[in-house]
């Protein structure tokens, strides 16, 4: 019997979900003033359930009588369809079959705990909508209520009376004919099979099987496609590139290795015995030294394509995935904090201007933030750092960067699976979710992606991952396994393939626990179902490990064995379904050879007229989306769990000022801290991606230094999100950025320890005239920095502390308004993009760190978007104090520098520091040799006044409350 229990808001209490739907319908221009009622529903199936039992479940499990009322009946009962307020069309929204329904799984377990016989539970949401036409109902269903990638909606009564969960799988070995296919045939097979392999690669595979004298099985093709995918092998950037720019030509055999990795290797050589890198560019995350007992692991990943289709699930599994990266690093790290950076189209983009297949950016933003919130918070990992950038070109292709830091005991930093070890899957079950994620993320998005690749989108289950983490740390410390890795893109295929690369492996696919019947052997192998880790376990340890997992309700299953054969053998019920050499998978891919060119745009002077007053410009920059307060996001994240919070994302007298970087203390009885910050400047890439990359590195470092991080112990990560790199100019702009990474890293002595790229971030659609349009994202390089601080009590924040203190500007201001927010809000073009003097930057960071460490600095803020004016305004309103600043005192490289540049130039390596009068001499002495000058003073007026010099008229004169309001308003949702 199938029962349904509906949970309604109690009469007289607000129906928040209904209010949200009505507001969205109005906002999207579908219908005004709708009357909506909602309920949460639970379908409960059990052969012997009766009304009394279901009523008990309604009262004691599903509803809370204090705030809710319930209706319980068999599913066809009319009472379930009765509109709570008298009228309205009923819509049901359900997860599509096969999509993870976490609440249903928990509810099932909880219902059985009542001693009732319950077969299955499924959740749904119900909406009664009054005042909408049939067509409007359809539109509300498809655009607001149900995301087609994971959900379906049903108008009227539910069309089923029992819950179905798959049917039994009938084994049938499938092979694909490769022999005899011409180039066209190979191309077509690659595309239709969603393999996304290039012709040369298809030819290599054809050749391999021709030599074996047989055709490949479907699972063999899938395995090769996954291993060779851009997502897993980074074949473009680690490939051969012929690069040409204005300085000449350069040939790379492996571009990443010869630029970014090379700088790190040189630094490690240079440091010799003082090398503090532990494991770089080989494991799931990079590892560096931390204290006497622990190392730190750090990784940032992207989850762009899934987030474009289903923002909540995409971001949810993005953060879940990167957490598994650190858990799967070395012998397993304990995650200690998250960092999340997003790029969206402006949330004010009108809905009627969206190309087909594109979700409204505001909805995308809500979904992405919700996805990160729900996963990070549930995992109990503080999300401490982040940034959000806006640009129209992220419309069809938003970017979601998720990062995680882990703490790992020193002696656990390396792993090595042994021949004869069992291959054990730990955690979630395998389902049909996420099929083709690895190959999909390497493909260009189109307006049809939603229907073609729906299987690549999924929902995470944070509690499953938390359970896995809890038990893994226990079994790690007992030394029961020899290696661990995560199941990410490519699922078992990727995890087992990587782990067994040096040995060989045999996998028994029918033994993998599945969520429901009907999965084929190939689906089991390539499924990207979440929350699974793979470990290699010596046979002697298996029983103890299995029991420990069972004690915490975590499933552990032997699915194979690492056999010293050098082959990957896959079996389904004793039948061999794949037999490939590891050598083919890992070394057989033909090299990708690409051309890359770059021509920097010539510098064109900015044409603007000087103004008498720049207060409005300042307010506009403060209110621009990139600069504006992100408090709406920050407060939804638990940034204090684990009890080590030192510098929070929002600081100041009212905890609402923008901190430069977060500091956490991962070991509760120690004073040593970890600093997390980032830098990103997509706008500078329009001018020169070299300077964009250099600026991003400088920004990430100065954020770190501004709170007290030691600049000689900062490790950084690169995450390249670029457009289609088959275009030589697009690839050229990336190579140029990588060259900057190399150069800056060497001079600053700041090593890259890991990185990741996401290419093909382009969105195509057909416009009204039937012409294909493509939107490529701006070249976007995220630099994430992980610094360290010896004693967190030396850290400083950016809010002004007291009246009468001196304000020092550290660093040289130049005519560098190109790509600045001043030009953005004034719609100006041209200018010189900010550059970095790396030698001077290194000295500046070291000197300033010394001053902070000695306690000479009361507050410190880095100068970034909006330059000096924005930094001063933020420090003033965060501290609730006023200030006067004289522009004539600024250290400049050219005394004729314009007022606009002095106020708003975004020149790198600059800080505004507040110093008490008694520390002024010591501060100046400490910064000897660095461009620095006293440019003003704090006061109790609550007014920010900026003048050319003391006796001139004010260029900026505003109350700090006004400035704060301008800054808080745009994203105060």
């Amino acid at each position: 019997m199938l029962w349904e229990i509906d949970v309604h808001p109690r009469q007289g209490l607000p129906d928040r979900e209904a209010e949200k739907v009505a507001a969205l319908a109005a906002e999207l221009g579908i219908a005004e003033k709708l009357v909506v009622c909602t309920a949460r529903g639970f379908l409960v199936e059990g052969p012997s359930l009766d009304q009394a039992q279901v009523d008990r479940l309604a009262a004691e499990l599903f509803g809370d009588a204090m705030v809710e009322s319930t209706v319980a009946a068999t599913v066809a009962d009319k009472c379930l369809q009765t509109p709570p307020n008298g009228s309205g069309t009923l819509l049901h929204v359900l997860l599509k079959p096969g999509v993870m329904d976490n609440v249903a799984r928990s509810a099932e377990m909880a219902a059985r705990d009542f001693g009732l016989s319950v077969d299955a539970v499924r959740t749904l949401r119900k909406y009664w909508i009054h005042g909408a036409s049939e067509q409007q109902i359809q539109e509300i269903g498809s655009r607001i209520l149900a995301n087609d990638a994971i959900e379906q909606f049903v108008v009227g009564p539910l069309p089923f009376d029992r819950l179905q969960f798959g049917s039994e799988y009938q084994f049938e070995l499938k092979t694909t004919q490769l022999s005899g296919l011409d180039d066209q045939g190979l191309r077509q097979l690659s595309l239709q099979g969603q393999l996304y392999l290039q012709l040369a690669e298809m030819q290599t595979i054809q050749q391999y099987f021709a030599e074996l004298g047989r055709e490949p099985t479907d699972i063999e093709l899938e395995t090769i496609a996954q291993t060779w995918s851009e997502h897993c092998s980074h074949k473009t950037l680690a490939g051969r590139i012929a690069y040409r720019d204005e300085r000449g030509e350069r040939q790379f055999d492996n571009m990443l290795k010869e630029t970014i990795f090379d700088a790190t290797m040189q630094l490690r050589d240079r440091w010799g015995d003082d090398d503090w890198c532990v494991s770089v560019f080989k494991d799931n995350a990079g590892i560096v030294l931390f204290d006497d007992h622990n190392n730190l692991a750090f990784k940032v990943e992207t989850h762009n394509h899934p987030s474009a289709l289903e923002p909540y699930g995409g971001a949810n599994t993005g953060i879940g995935g990167v957490i598994r990266d650190t858990i799967g690093t070395g012998m397993g790290a304990k995650p200690i904090c998250n960092t999340d950076i997003f790029c969206f189209a402006p949330p004010c983009t009108p809905s009627d201007s969206l190309p087909p297949g594109v979700l409204n950016p505001k909805q995308v933003m809500h979904g992405v933030v919700g996805g990160v919130r729900d996963y990070g918070n549930r995992m109990g990992i503080p999300t401490v750092n982040g940034a959000v950038y806006f640009d129209e070109r992220y419309l069809g292709n938003p970017l979601v960067y998720c990062g995680n830091v882990g703490l790992i005991p020193k002696e656990m930093s390396f792993k090595e699976p042994k021949p004869g070890d069992l291959i054990v899957s730990v955690g979630g079950r395998t389902g049909r979710d996420g099929i083709h994620g690895a190959t999909f993320s390497s493909a260009e998005l189109t307006s049809e992606s939603e229907s073609l690749s729906g299987g690549a989108v999924q929902i995470g289950n944070a509690i499953e991952e938390k359970k896995v983490l809890d038990v893994l740390l226990t079994i790690r410390d007992r030394g029961l396994y020899t290696a661990i890795t995560d199941c990410g893109a490519g699922g078992f295929s990727s995890a087992v393939g990587e782990m067994g690369e040096e040995i060989g492996a045999e996998v028994w696919l029918d033994r993998a626990p599945v969520k429901y019947d009907g999965l084929s052997y190939t689906e089991i192998w390539i499924s990207e179902a979440q929350e699974r880790m793979v470990i290699s376990v010596p046979e002697a340890n298996w029983e103890e490990l299995r029991d420990l997992c069972a004690a915490e309700s975590v499933e552990a299953t032997v699915i194979g064995k690492f056999e010293p054969t050098g082959r990957l053998v896959l079996k389904y019920k004793d039948q061999v379904v794949a037999d490939l050499t590891m050598d083919l998978l890992h070394n057989g891919r033909p090299p990708v050879i690409r051309e890359a060119t770059y021509q920097p745009a010539p510098v064109v002077p900015i044409v603007s007229t000087a103004k008498e007053n720049y207060t409005d410009d300042l307010k506009q920059i403060l209110g621009s989306y990139n600069v504006a307060s992100k408090e709406w996001i920050v407060r939804q994240y638990d940034h204090e769990v684990q009890g080590g919070s030192v510098i929070k994302p929002l600081v100041g007298i009212n905890s609402d000022g923008p901190g430069d970087a977060a500091v956490v203390r991962p070991v509760l009885d120690s004073r040593r801290g970890v600093v997390i910050s980032c830098g990103m400047n997509p706008r500078y890439g329009e001018f020169d991606t070299y300077h964009m990359a250099a600026s991003a590195i400088d920004e990430a470092l100065r954020n770190c230094v501004a709170v007290g991080g030691d600049p000689s112990r900062v490790a950084i990560l690169d995450n390249f999100c670029w457009g289609d790199c088959e275009k030589s100019e697009t690839l050229g702009s990336l190579v140029r950025a990588a060259l900057a990474c190399h150069d800056l890293s060497l001079v600053l002595e700041t090593p890259f320890i890991s990185g990741k790229d996401s290419l093909n971030n382009e969105f195509s659609y057909f416009d009204e005239s039937g012409t294909k349009q493509t939107i490529a994202i701006p070249s976007t390089l995220l630099i994430s920095a992980m610094g360290q601080v010896e004693d967190v009590s030396r850290c400083v924040t950016m809010d002004f502390k007291a009246e009468g203190n001196l304000l020092y500007l550290v660093g040289t201001t130049k005519d560098e308004l190109g790509g600045s927010h001043f030009t953005l809000v004034n719609h100006l073009e041209g200018g010189q993009v900010p550059t970095v003097d790396a030698e001077l930057a290194k000295q500046t960071f070291a000197s300033l760190h010394g001053a902070i460490h000695q306690g000479l600095v009361a507050s410190c803020h880095d100068l970034s978007e909006g330059g000096l004016a924005v930094a001063a305004a933020e420090m003033a309103f965060a501290g609730g104090l006023g200030a006067q600043i004289d522009l004539s005192a600024l250290p400049v490289d050219d005394t004729s520098l314009s007022t606009e540049s002095r106020l708003f130039s975004e020149s790198n390596t600059r800080f505004l520091c507040e110093v008490t009068p008694e520390h002024a001499d010591a501060f100046e002495k400490q910064l000897a040799g660095i461009p620095v000058a006293c440019v003003g003073q704090t006061n109790a007026t609550a007014q920010l006044v900026v003048k050319e010099s003391a006796d001139n008229n004010s260029l900026i004169d505003a109350h700090i409350d006004e400035l704060k309001e301008a800054w808080q308003k745009p994203l105060n949702w």
Binding site: R16, A59, E60, L61, F62, D64, A65, M66, V67, N102, V103, R105, S106, A107, M109, A110, D113, F114, R373, N377, R378, M379, G380, N461, A462, I463, K466, K467, D470, A551, E552, S553, V634, R635, Q636, D638, H639, E640, V641, Q642, G643, G644, S645, V646, I647, K648, L650, G652, I653, S655, R665, L668, D669, V792, S793, C795, V796, T797, D799, K801
Partner: protein
């Protein structure tokens, strides 16, 4: 009596167990973190301890409702063990998710013929929120709040709005001295009835609160610590000292 032993009970999804154990240890107690499955297998394990603490997190994902599934497990399987624990004059503390569990399991205020009389519902903003709040304690009766009048602590929750069946229930709890911890009037983050941030049972030995005292053990936890002289410890520690001190 020597060092009291604290049972920190974690369920799948509990995530504040480590820092809560650290706080009890800093207060001089001897904490053990134990999986709920162990206590369900052997409820008598609780008799080895003087203090039971259910820490924060998302037990069972907060699926269906925050703390509900954990609370039902207590109702179904641990009711006797809990009764015995309380009857022995021992202490029970629920923080955040732990408070949600305690209130939904009937350990703070016993059900009457109509079921439970108070609960924790979704925040009025219908949103998860992490911020610091100012609190006032009126806990003459509550062991954990002895000597505490004002307190600043962080909250981090989505379902922390204290609700009661009706005004009469609120009056009854108020008169019984059970509404022991409140947000200051302009600090109520979630719309809680009568600004309630925490409540105790009638004995004052069972206490649940939404704010996180274990997140204010170190002076550098305070959001404005860079604006003030750095003290020796965070104000949240006092609450754990009170609990440990009760047995010393």
């Amino acid at each position: 009596m020597s060092q009291p032993r604290i049972l920190i009970l974690r369920a799948p999804g509990t995530n504040c167990d480590a820092e809560t154990a650290f706080a009890f240890e800093a207060a001089g107690g001897k904490p053990d973190v134990l999986h709920l499955n162990r206590l369900l297998e052997s409820p008598q394990l609780a008799t080895d301890y003087q203090i039971l603490c259910i820490p924060g997190g998302f037990s069972y994902g907060d699926d269906v409702a925050a703390g509900r599934i954990f609370a039902n497990q207590i109702r179904h399987h641990l009711a006797d063990a809990m009764q015995e624990f309380r009857a022995a004059g021992k202490l029970v503390l629920g923080i955040c998710n732990g408070f949600q569990v305690l209130i939904k399991s009937g350990l703070l205020d016993a059900d009457d013929a109509h079921g439970p009389s108070a609960s924790l519902a979704w925040n009025q903003s219908h949103r998860y929120i992490d911020r610091w709040v100012d609190l006032q304690a009126s806990g003459a009766n509550c062991v954990f709040l002895a000597g505490i009048e004002n307190l600043t602590l962080p909250i981090a929750h989505a379902e922390g709005q204290f609700v009661a069946r009706d005004e009469a229930t609120l009056d009854r709890l108020e008169e019984a001295g059970q509404l022991v911890l409140r947000y200051t009037a302009d600090s109520n983050p979630n719309g809680s009835a009568r600004d309630v941030a925490g409540m105790s049972d009638a004995s004052g030995r069972v206490f649940g609160l939404m704010p996180h005292p274990e997140r204010f053990i170190d002076p550098t936890h305070h959001p404005q610590w860079t604006r003030m002289p750095v003290g020796k410890e965070g104000a949240g520690l006092k609450l754990f000292r009170n609990a440990v001190g009760y047995f010393s």
